[in-house]
Amino acid sequence: MQAFLTILKYDFGQLSQSWVSRIWIIVMIIPAIFLIFLANYENEFASETMAFYTATVLMPASGLAIAVLSASSINVESGIIADSILSRAITRTEYVCAKILSRMGFILVTYSIVIIPFSYFMLRYGVNDTADSSVFLGWIVIGSIFTAVAAFGILMSVLFANLLPAVLLVLLTVSLSSALMQFLGLELLSISAVIQELPEIFRGETLTSTGIQIIGIFLILTSIFLFPAVFIFGKKDL
């Protein structure tokens, strides 16, 4: 357990000092502040502004940041994994689980740090057409999408030795699958369809059960990506 906590602490420290994380936070915060001012002066609806922010800022910036942070979780350390970590008293399962927890934890904590104050100020200074519980549900839906993307990135990080193909594959898969699912009418599986539905979710016009269904789908996808990542890493030659 101590080895697991050591890796968790080490990786979380690495992430918090990384330039990708810093840039990601800045890119999310500056437009958020601008939109809060705009909503205040122009009397914009909170639900519409938050959905607009999600579609134009949060998803593109976070998609890229999550792809990089998750797809770099294992492969960028390939040099030191064998020499400095796995040749010591830690199992591969402990190592990869610590990595998963730290990457997903960091992504969700960073997302919450930006989204919680943004929602608070938006509901306070914009025209509040939402219910607290529906806003909460909407952000959980987005969080579950981020979790699935991060899990896919971690799987790519186990499969690919280089960072660039892993990141490109994550971005390509997310964009293409989103369009494909919408085209096939599987809207609950399509990220772009879910984002289009977001104003209704924030206003409470979408059934809570539909929101929970979306969360469930993306959490199942998360597990589908993580199990092979743990299994493959456990059998890999280092």
Partner: protein, 352 residues
């Protein structure tokens, strides 16, 4: 008691490259075992398999009489490992890195701090203990790797090229440290191609060539084998006469020599003891009336023995291939007989 035992350990990468070929390795507790071999012989692969970083293609590994697998962190807790040109998290300092290693090993923070201070002092890194590792030279990295390998006070220490990148003083210090470590009832296994290090530090030696162990035994035995039949001398005077009669030292074909100026390096391939050959050479010197400047046996002895083993292995390789082909021929003719005598069995072997 054996600390390391491998049985027919084989590693084939991607069904293309045979890195280890049925390796049988046995390292006794308390010994310093030197694993020597040319580059690509399979030394680092052996270590990676021993540590559970890679899966063997076939064969088995047992450490401390327990089977070693990829998930055996409990066995790895009893090991210390120094890789060749070790990689560290570059942003860390030696202090934070050794604390990190201590955390992975499950040491409590106070004990880890005491241990790291002691180790940084013994590898002479105290002055640079708070500097980032990214500025370190190869030698400093090796010394830090050595400190990290010793953090958990391991029973078995696996060192891959421990003197690589070190200056002569650093090498001497490292060899002394290895000797001290083994003195406290630990077992050390070193992979190196610096034969002088093996000679100075090791009690036992194994020679790897093309993934096979071609010699394994005590260092003293290796020295004895090395000394056998190698005599180096310098003479002055009627060198031509001496050279003409060198072949009379043993039966025809059993004497080889190299001549550089007035120096002779004579290799005697016969079975007589070295003292007898020495006696014959002194007799020849007397007979030809040359003046002797020096005579000695066993110069570069370990290197000679190592190269001789590799040469022998090449020769045996051809013989082994021939004998394997013979075996295959015999097996095929037996199979032919079986097919003729017993058709149902033959069809079964076709299917399988």
């Amino acid at each position: 008691m054996s600390v390391i035992q491998t049985s027919d350990l084989t590693k084939i990468y991607d069904n293309r490259y045979i890195a280890l070929n049925a390796l049988n390795l046995n390292v006794e507790k308390g010994s310093i075992f030197g694993l020597v071999g040319p580059n690509g012989a399979g030394k680092s692969t052996t270590f990676r398999l021993l540590l559970g970083l890679q899966k063997p293609t076939a064969g088995s590994i047992s450490l401390f009489n327990e089977p070693m697998t990829l998930e055996r962190a409990d066995i790895r807790r009893r090991l210390g490992y120094l890789p060749t040109n070790p990689n560290f998290p570059k942003h860390m300092t030696p202090i934070t890195y050794l604390e990190f290693v201590g955390g992975i090993l499950g040491l409590d923070s106070r004990r880890a701090k005491i241990q790291l201070v002691r180790l940084l002092d013994s590898v002479d890194l105290t002055a640079t203990a708070s500097q980032p590792i990214k500025g370190f030279s190869t030698g400093m990295n090796t010394r830090l790797g050595l400190a990290a390998a010793l953090m958990g006070d391991p029973e078995l220490i696996i060192l891959d090229e421990p003197t690589s990148g070190l200056d002569p003083a650093g090498r001497k210090q490292t060899i002394e440290l290895i000797r001290e470590l083994a003195g406290s009832n630990r077992t050390v296994i070193i992979a190196t191609h610096i034969l002088a290090d093996v000679e100075r530090a090791c009690s036992d030696v194994g020679i790897l060539s093309h993934g096979r162990m071609i010699y394994s035994g005590p260092m003293a035995e290796m020295r004895r084998l090395a000394r056998q039949g190698n005599i180096h001398l310098e003479i002055e005077g009627n060198i031509g006469s001496f050279e003409q009669q060198i072949h009379t030292l043993d039966i025809p074909g059993a004497v080889k020599y190299e001549k550089v100026g007035s120096e002779f390096k004579i290799t005697l391939l016969g079975t007589e003891p070295l003292s007898e050959y020495m006696h014959r050479i002194l007799g020849l010197i007397d007979k030809t009336g040359v003046d002797l400047h020096f005579i000695r046996s066993g110069e570069d002895e370990i290197e000679e023995a190592f190269l001789r083993r590799l040469d022998d292995d090449k020769t045996r390789g051809a013989l082994r291939a021939a004998s394997w082909l013979n075996t295959q021929d015999t097996e095929n003719s037996e199979l032919d007989v079986q097919i003729k005598v017993d058709p149902p069995n033959a069809s079964l072997s076709d299917n399988t």
